[in-house]
């Protein structure tokens, strides 16, 4: 991993933009799928795959790799797009998303794409699987382990009791090698999370289970990368990064609107969105200028 200088930040921002364009492109092609979550997690996925993760796209099964568990499988357009841009498979394969026989199933499935760490879709079980991986790593390597297990969660799925079963166990087992990221975009299918089922005070809930909590702007490359670095230095506790994100980030017309949780753009919306992203007319550019 290299240092995060201005050039690297620019590189990451450009990558995230490219990934967002792929997301819009393939969702319209597929004709179904989720838009808001993939767009708002693009910056975090970019930092992970192009800066933080210990991995090798040319050797996906490299035993020394970090593990990345995507719990809310429905945002897989961002996972697939980032993996393709990172070199795991050809970018043109992204166009097969959700089509019959595709390796890119509507929700991630390891039978079809073996380089995935887990299959996922039903919410609430990803953190448990990541806890299992972190436990295995701790059994084998104890406190000296440098491997990190990353669990990416949505905020809505924190309504699943199983997430808290897993959080309790991770706190009890003091899993320093476990890092959870919560996409705090405040929306879910039926509306805004605080209307559907209030989650606040979210950071207090994690602290109560003996987690180290970091809150960040989920669209600021430096803050994202710093949070992952800080997590590596936390001893005797798992870390959760609560990433405050803007649902649908990158396309003004989609932002903060929960109705974009579970639908794809149509042809016209795709044209408009890609144009906005290509010209960097959206907030991504202006915020960092």
């Amino acid at each position: 991993m290299d240092n995060l200088n201005d050039n690297k930040i620019k590189f990451l921002e450009q990558k995230a933009n490219d990934i967002r364009i792929s997301i819009i492109d393939i969702l319209e092609d597929a004709g179904s799928g989720h838009t808001a979550g993939p767009l708002d997690m693009a910056d975090i996925f970019t930092v992970l795959f192009f800066h933080t993760l210990k991995h090798n796209p040319k050797e996906p099964a490299w035993p020394e790799r970090d593990r990345l568990v995507l719990s809310n499988g429905h945002i897989c357009p961002v996972l697939y797009s980032t993996m393709a841009h990172a070199g795991y498979f050809p970018i043109k394969e992204l166009k097969t998303l959700r089509k019959f026989g595709s390796r890119l199933q509507g929700h991630p499935h390891r039978d079809f794409l073996s380089m995935l760490e887990t299959s996922s879709g039903p919410l609430g079980s990803g953190l448990s699987q990541a806890v299992g991986m972190a436990l295995a790593d701790k059994i084998d390597h104890g406190l000296t382990s440098n491997r990190r297990i990353y669990a990416l969660l949505s905020d809505g799925e924190l309504e699943c009791g199983q997430t808290w079963e897993a959080a309790m166990l991770a706190g009890k087992e003091k899993l320093h090698n476990l890092v959870a990221v919560v996409d705090r975009n405040n929306i879910q299918i039926d509306g805004y999370t605080e209307d559907v089922m209030p989650l606040e005070s979210l950071s207090d809930k994690w602290r109560a289970w003996n987690w180290h909590v970091i809150e960040i702007d989920g669209h600021n490359m430096e803050e994202i990368a710093d949070a992952f670095e800080t997590a590596k230095a936390i001893f005797g506790k798992p870390t959760v990064i609560i990433a405050h994100t803007i649902a649908g980030k990158g396309v003004k017309e989609f932002e903060r609107d929960y109705r974009w949780h579970g639908k794809p753009p149509n042809k016209e919306e795709k044209r408009m969105a890609i144009n906005e992203l290509r010209t960097l007319g959206g907030k991504i550019k202006s915020e960092h200028e």
Binding site: E117, S128, Q129, G132, D137
Partner: protein, 329 residues
């Protein structure tokens, strides 16, 4: 006596003072031995370490035992994560809670994910007794056998449970091992052959009129019934179907061809259980008249195991009746 001599079964199985051991004890001993043989074996338990007999493993290998608390959904998915890193996790709880409560986690994070987690469901069946219907898992065979990749094993005694536990380590698949709480008669011996996926004829007959297919501890009652029927001049052949999935179709078809009538015996709902699996096989391949011994679309209740087995029509008498009835058809 036509007990299959090749299988080296317990010669004292019909003695009044036949040795009785809970099937779950065999799991505990098997897991302990598996832990000694294979360093990747880990145990996960949900606040029932002693009563699922995982305590034997826990005492010897505390560093490989993870106490999950009362959290069965987490139990299943954490095991999936451990398996993804090369561990061979055994999870144990009461069958009502695992695979009962955590069925979706077992389906998605274990089976769909193709992780070789071994699920030990103790206190299965109605013979749990006084605890009552909430704790009597009589749907577990149905809900596990319906999941792709899952292997379903229902041992007939503690010795077979130990062998099944050891055999499950190397299948590379998810395995459900069905266990019971109560002490039940020892039918097999250490030298009785056991193989996952292989059914065996425990009671042979030269001219059988009925074939009984039994699974779990009720196999003993099926053998007792057969012995009584022999006295009445009715010849029966008895199969121990300890692996319900994958089903030994060849052996079942052979038995149906030889006998022309099949009675299935299980401590489970009739609907969806072992009998259904046998029926699915025979309807496709060699349809014969069938009768099903099991719980008929009801919940259990408190009582002694014997009272409950009799009340729900799974005792020796009920098996004899079913055989006599099917002969008249």
């Amino acid at each position: 006596m036509p007990i299959n001599p090749d299988l080296k079964l317990n010669t004292k199985m019909f003695d009044e003072k036949v040795e009785q051991i809970p099937i779950r004890q065999g799991f505990g001993e098997g897991l302990l031995e598996a832990g000694e043989e294979n360093l990747q074996v880990v145990g996960l338990c949900a606040d029932l370490t002693e009563s699922t007999k995982m305590d034997l493993f826990a005492k010897k290998f505390p560093e490989r035992l993870i106490e999950m608390g009362v959290a069965e959904q987490n139990l299943a998915s954490v095991a999936s994560g451990l398996a993804a890193m090369g561990k061979i996790p055994f999870i144990s709880s009461y069958a009502m809670f695992s695979p009962g409560r955590n069925w979706e986690q077992i389906r998605t994070t274990i089976c769909y994910n193709n992780q070789p987690v071994k699920i030990a469901g103790s206190h299965a069946g109605i013979s749990v007794g006084p605890d009552g219907g909430t704790h009597q898992a009589i749907e577990d065979i149905a809900i596990t056998r319906v999941i792709p990749r899952m292997v379903v094993v229902s041992p007939c005694d503690a010795i077979e449970a130990k062998k099944a536990t050891l055999a499950s380590v190397d299948t590379g698949t998810p395995v459900y091992i069905r266990l019971a709480r109560e002490k039940t008669p020892i039918i097999t011996t250490g030298t009785t052959p056991f193989e996952i996926g292989k059914a065996q004829i425990y009671w042979q007959s030269t001219k059988p009129q009925v074939g009984i297919v039994a699974t779990g501890a009720l196999l003993h009652k099926a053998l007792l019934a057969t012995k009584e029927l022999e006295g009445k001049g009715i010849e029966v052949e008895v199969m121990n179907l300890s692996t319900i999935k994958p089903l030994d179709e060849k052996a079942i078809i052979e038995l149906a061809k030889k006998t022309g009538r099949i009675v299935t015996v299980e401590e489970h709902q009739i609907s969806g259980g072992m009998g259904s699996a046998v029926a699915e096989c025979l309807v496709k391949n060699f349809p014969v008249p069938m009768k099903f011994i099991g719980v008929d679309d009801q919940f259990g209740q408190s009582g002694t195991p014997d009272e409950l087995i009799k009340h729900y029509g799974m005792d020796t008498e009920s098996i004899i009746k079913a055989v006599t009835k099917i002969l008249k058809q």
